[in-house]
């Protein structure tokens, strides 16, 4: 599904964010990406949804060679990748429904189908009753649920979540994790960068640890392994 081969990423200021990373993530896996701040986790995630391109090496997602992608093909690749952020990134002037439906309008789905599917995913994340609210009227956990609904509405095969629980209290975080597990169960690959030791240790999955631009650990049912 996702394959990286000897990936290097050097930014314009000379920092080496990744130094020869090779990894393979199969369909329907659930992967935690852990490591200290500034280790290269975010760069690793950004390469997957083509926010960044590698300086050297090959990366393929769903069979597309992402590094060599023509700019006008990028949107079509992104439609198959759902992205979730720590800061939710919802459009503040759109309602919950509009925020989610927007991702389907982009792929020019028929209105009838947009309506049906949007309500469906809002029900899945437990926010059907708040479809007419604005993001500012929701709690942090609810806003993250909306952004998850937006990420999954087009049935992407890969979900990239960059610290999705970073801004949430432990109880709300567990709710979000249960939701992600449910989505993984339904068939999407999930790659989640996190600093949350409790989550990683309680919900055992594959753990990839990145330090100083290198993968230092890759365990099938790993632990967080860092002192917080």
């Amino acid at each position: 599904m996702i394959e990286m081969h000897d990936i290097w990423k050097t930014y314009a200021d000379g920092t080496h964010a990744l130094r020869g990373v090779s990894v393979r993530i199969d369909r329907n896996e659930f992967v935690y990406v852990v490591g200290p701040s500034g280790a290269g986790k975010s760069t690793f995630m950004k390469l997957i949804y083509r926010e960044e391109v590698p300086t050297k090496g090959q990366i393929s997602v769903n069979g597309f060679n992402i590094g060599k992608l023509k700019p006008r093909k990028i949107p079509y690749v992104r439609r198959n990748i759902g992205v979730i952020f720590q800061d939710f990134r919802l459009l503040p002037k759109l309602t919950v429904y509009e925020n989610v439906a927007f991702a389907m309008e982009v792929i020019e789905a028929p209105k009838r189908i947009i309506k049906k599917r949007t309500m469906e995913v809002l029900e899945l994340v437990g926010l059907k009753h708040k479809h007419a609210s604005l993001p500012s009227q929701l709690s942090g956990g609810e806003q993250q649920r909306v952004s998850i609904a937006r990420a999954i509405v087009n049935n992407p095969s890969v979900i990239v979540a960059d610290e999705p629980t970073g801004n949430l209290d432990p109880e709300t975080s567990m709710g979000i994790m249960n939701l992600l597990e449910e989505i993984n169960f339904r068939g999407s690959t999930i790659i989640m960068a996190t600093h949350n030791r409790d989550i990683v240790n309680n919900m055992r999955k594959r753990v990839i640890a990145i330090e100083n631009g290198n993968i230092v650990r890759d365990e099938a049912r790993g632990e967080y392994g860092y002192e917080v």
Binding site: Y49, R72, P75, Y76, V77, R78, R79, V83, R89, L90, L91, K93, F102, A103, E105, V106, I107, E108, P110, K111, R150, N154
Partner: protein, 305 residues
């Protein structure tokens, strides 16, 4: 693009104006103020030009004949002058009319100077008043009339007068006034474009995040651009229509207030119908284009992410 997608873009573009209420208001105000000033200067320039035309059209050529020229000759020369392509009209001024005009020109107080002259002992020659289509050609036409005279061995014409020197001076002034008006209008137009596009740019910088999110969920650049394009066009169009209405209402007031005074001086302003069409077309086209231009340029900048 699907038709339903186009409708979606139009709906979104219109909704965005309301969603970003204050920013739309700022853009509209800036378009309104710039185009209002531009509109007033366009009308001013049009009227200065119109005045210059009216002054120039008062320029005519006077041709005086020998006192003893026969009827047939008078008609022959009239036809020859009338055949010059630049000439629009040749009027014969008879001796009697000439005397009458002279008396009027000298006025009541000095009328006794001409006392005793009547139709029997009228000393004045027959003359023509020659009018031309384009006042700027009087000099050339005068020269042609002179050559008609040279061609005739009796040399029937004694004098061709068109206000030499004075006319050239007048044209210099009217041309300068026209050019200055044109430069001011162009200058204001350019200033307006920068002012407006800056405001629009600011409104879009505020929405950089929005564009980023659109890209993230897989929107193509065209898909992102369209609503902004429509939003810009609508903002430009709506504010320029409001501007046009206000500028023309003001102009209507000016026409009404000055009508009496100006007609006493034998002048008139550019009529509403003509001025209105020109100004409306200019303001609305410029306004809409600026709206589109400003939003397109600014969006393009953030699409490269």
């Amino acid at each position: 693009m699907k038709f339903s997608t186009l409708l979606r873009h139009m709906r979104e573009g219109a909704k965005n104006i309301i969603r970003n209420g204050w920013m739309s208001f700022a853009s509209m105000s800036s378009i309104f103020i710039s185009l209002f000033i531009l509109g007033i200067f366009v009308l001013l320039a049009m009227n200065v030009n119109h005045m210059a035309d009216q002054i120039e059209s008062k320029v005519q050529i006077k041709v005086y004949l020998q006192t003893n020229v026969e009827e047939a000759k008078v008609t022959e020369i009239q036809n020859k002058i009338g055949n010059i392509t630049e000439v629009s009209k040749v009027t014969v001024v008879s001796k009697e009319e000439g005397l009458q005009q002279l008396k009027e020109a000298m006025g009541e107080e000095n009328s006794d100077w001409l006392e005793g002259y009547n139709n029997e002992n009228n000393p004045l020659p027959i003359s023509y008043v020659v009018e031309v289509y384009d006042p700027q050609t009087v000099e050339a036409v005068a020269a042609q009339i002179q050559s008609i005279n040279q061609a005739d061995e009796t040399l029937p014409i004694t004098k061709v007068k068109y206000g030499e020197g004075y006319v050239q001076q007048l044209f210099k002034i009217t041309n300068a006034v026209r050019n200055i008006g044109f430069v001011i209008v162009i200058g204001l137009g350019v200033t307006a474009m920068f002012l407006i596009s800056n405001t629009i740019k600011m409104t879009i910088i505020n929405r950089r995040r929005e564009i980023g999110i659109m890209k993230l969920v897989g929107a193509t650049n065209a898909f992102i651009r369209w609503p902004f394009f429509i939003e810009g066009a609508l903002i430009g169009f709506i504010s320029s229509v409001i501007t046009t209405v206000l500028v023309l209402v003001c102009y209507g007031q000016v026409i009404e207030l000055t009508q009496l005074d100006l007609s006493l001086m034998m002048f008139s302003l550019v009529p509403m119908k003509e001025a209105g069409m020109m100004t409306a077309l200019l303001i609305i086209v410029i306004g809409t284009l600026i709206g589109i231009w400003g939003s397109t340029i600014s969006v393009r900048k953030y699409l490269k992410v």
